[in-house]
């Protein structure tokens, strides 16, 4: 298939930083003066690249700069990137909410966006009236909506309240109804931004299923923006990674996801020797720790259910008899989720020679942590007692994954994930 349905050429978008005030008026006047003399906008030449963490040198910033890509009919393109990488700006331009500063987008199909569901709901109107209004805002005609009204109501699961004003709805019901309307849109190109993060577990399941239907079954072209790597992996056929407003990677979903996950975390934590907040005798000292995936790439954004190696570097001043190296996995609330200890699994005692470059490694074949932020506390005991103890050695995030291989999103944030089986006996 070489049928390109959407072509994005040199798209850039410049934003002004700071407040709109009297100063803006002078810029506007200058811009206008240049324009009537037939010159280019003087402010187009300035502008920093989009890096949220750096202090701005100019009043203008390029939210996205020189973006190029093509989408073929029937493709599901994932767009991934960190916060502020320019994803939403790109989607806004694609859905014609705002226009680009330079460049152009050519399309052969109608684009409809699901930037945020429930846009244009009027609280005083009933559920049914809002279905029509919202559908029309999203670009459906009245006849199209009428044909699908029944399905929409059923999908939302709000039959009982359909003639009640939406202001009486719970927020969850509102979202359900809104997503239901949007899910039955039939544009040539659908732009979806993080809608899967709404509703309760039952509805999320429904929503993911519907998304899969849209992309797989109907062969619709979808642009999908998400932080949920599991969803991106299961839905997309191809993905691009945005970094500081530029396309950093464009290729297969698998590669794009690993490119994204390894981004910015390539450095290893190797400065533990400098830490002063340690306890213990000190004959054994932790030097560094790194987390590697199956392909031995270093990561700090992990997926649950995947294999990870936790490589720990240390030095010893003399031979350590009966070393017990413990790694505690602690969540953002300070709770210990689980711990690793060679003493538990080894049948013989571990003695470590005097060394400057010792390395040990723990492997977890299926990381059982749900989404969240975690840190590892490293502790070493010897026959003499506590040798070394360091809290917060490495911070890492769990950002999705499919522990149970069910294709479903994880909902649990507590405890650890445990493999289990389920059977209906009667």
């Amino acid at each position: 298939m070489s049928d390109v349905i959407l072509k994005v050429e040199h798209i850039s978008k410049q934003y002004r930083l700071g407040l709109v005030g009297t100063g803006t008026l002078s810029h506007d006047l200058k811009r206008w003066l240049y324009k009537i003399r037939g010159k280019d906008d003087p402010y187009l030449k300035v502008g920093d690249t989009n890096d949220r963490s750096k202090t701005a040198e100019s009043d203008y910033v390029w939210a996205i700069k020189d973006i190029n890509f093509e989408v073929k009919r029937g493709e599901v393109l994932g767009i991934i990137g960190k916060n502020g990488a320019g994803k939403s700006t790109l989607l806004k331009i694609l859905s014609r909410v705002t226009s680009p500063t330079t460049g152009q987008i050519k399309t052969k199909g109608r684009i409809a966006s699901l930037l945020e569901v429930g846009t244009g709901f009027h609280p005083e109107l009933t559920g049914k009236e809002n279905i029509y209004l919202n559908g029309a805002i999203l670009g459906m005609t009245k006849t199209e909506i009428k044909a699908k009204e029944q399905e929409i109501v059923e999908f939302s699961g709000c039959q009982r309240y359909i003639d009640t004003p939406v202001k009486r709805y719970s927020s969850g019901m509102r979202v359900r109804l809104a997503f239901a309307v949007a899910a039955f849109l039939e544009p040539d190109i659908l732009v979806v931004d993080e809608v899967l993060a709404v509703g309760d577990a039952e509805f999320q399941k429904k929503a993911v299923g519907k998304m899969q239907d849209i992309s797989r079954g109907d062969g619709r072209t979808v642009l999908f923006v998400s932080h949920n790597m599991a969803a991106v992996k299961s839905l997309c056929t191809r993905a691009i990674v945005l970094e500081h407003g530029k396309v950093a990677y464009n290729g297969s979903t698998q590669d794009a996801v690993s490119f994204y996950l390894s981004d910015g975390n390539r450095e290893i934590i190797d400065n533990l020797l400098e830490r002063k907040d340690r306890k213990g005798i000190g004959d054994f000292l932790f030097k560094g720790i790194s987390i590697l995936n199956e392909a031995n790439e270093k990561h700090l954004n992990l997926l649950s259910g995947e294999l990870y190696r936790f490589r720990i570097e240390f030095s010893t001043k003399k031979t350590i008899i009966d070393a017990k190296i413990r790694a505690r996995f602690i969540d953002s609330k300070g709770q210990i989720r689980f711990l690793l200890n060679n003493y538990f699994i080894d049948t013989v005692t571990l003695n470590l020679e005097k060394t400057d470059k010792g390395i040990v490694e723990y492997t977890i074949e299926k990381l059982p942590l749900p989404n969240g932020n975690y840190t590892i506390q490293l502790t070493c005991f010897s026959e003499n007692g506590l040798e070394d103890d360091l809290e917060n050695t490495v911070d890492f995030n769990l950002i999705g994954g499919d522990f149970f291989n069910s294709g479903r999103e994880q909902f649990s944030k507590e405890g650890v994930l445990v493999e289990h089986k389920f059977k209906v006996l009667k």
Binding site: V97, S99, T102, T107, I111, S113, E124, Y132, G139
Partner: protein, 288 residues
Amino acid sequence: MLSNKEDEWLYTISAKRKLIDFNFKEIWRYRDLLFLFVKRDIVTLYKQTILGPLWYLIQPLFTSIIFTLIFNNLGQIQTGSVPPFLFNLAGITAWNYFRDCLNNTSSTFTKNQNIFGKVYFPRVILPMSITISNLLKFGIQFLIFIGFFVYYSVIGFELSINSNIILFPIYIVIMAMLGLGLGMIFSSLTTKYRDLTVLLTFAVQLLMYVSAVPYPMSEAKAKFPPLVARIVEYNPLTQIMEGFRYMLLDIGEFNLARFLYTFCISLFIFLLGLVIFNRTEKTFIDTV
């Protein structure tokens, strides 16, 4: 399905814009949305009120009563053979339509930024829907005018409409164009600089007094200083008010040149509004 030919693009999104690129086909495609917006505006306006649509009637009635008390009883403004109350009611009904079109459309961008920020549809649908829903409101208010017209005829006033009544729809169009055009200009300008929102509310108030709403043009000519009289005379809104009362109550006079002048000014403001609106809608979300 579209054909597979290369370079056959449905549309292009780009930074360059034409002076007027008005996609009528697209607006037609969204006609249901226009209708639904009108319905929304009407249905929701007086929800959870006891009097409901009666509020449409109360406001012009009381304004007319106050005007009659102040301008005619206290201020001695002569309205000829026409009862002053009916005179004021005619002016206020027409003025209200213009004012509502202007006020409501002037906040199009700022009020709807949450919708505009997320979904694309031809932006001009919203001010259009406002003009149409206000037309319905005008219709209801016009009915009271007819009611009082009949009442005054029955109790013995000599009232007659003028053959100019055939121009009625044109006056409506002129008022709509003027209100919509000015509203679109204001709404576009307020996206970046909010100063104008402050200005607009009281400017509209003041505008009413130089638009010959509570007095006939003849009184203005006779009693105002010449400069003010001239401002009032060349104000297109004055011509609309005068023309409106001429065809409905047969007072004042009709001048074809003035009528054409008003029409042209309104058309110009409407087109100007469209152009400005069109230029703003593309990027207003970045500056609003």
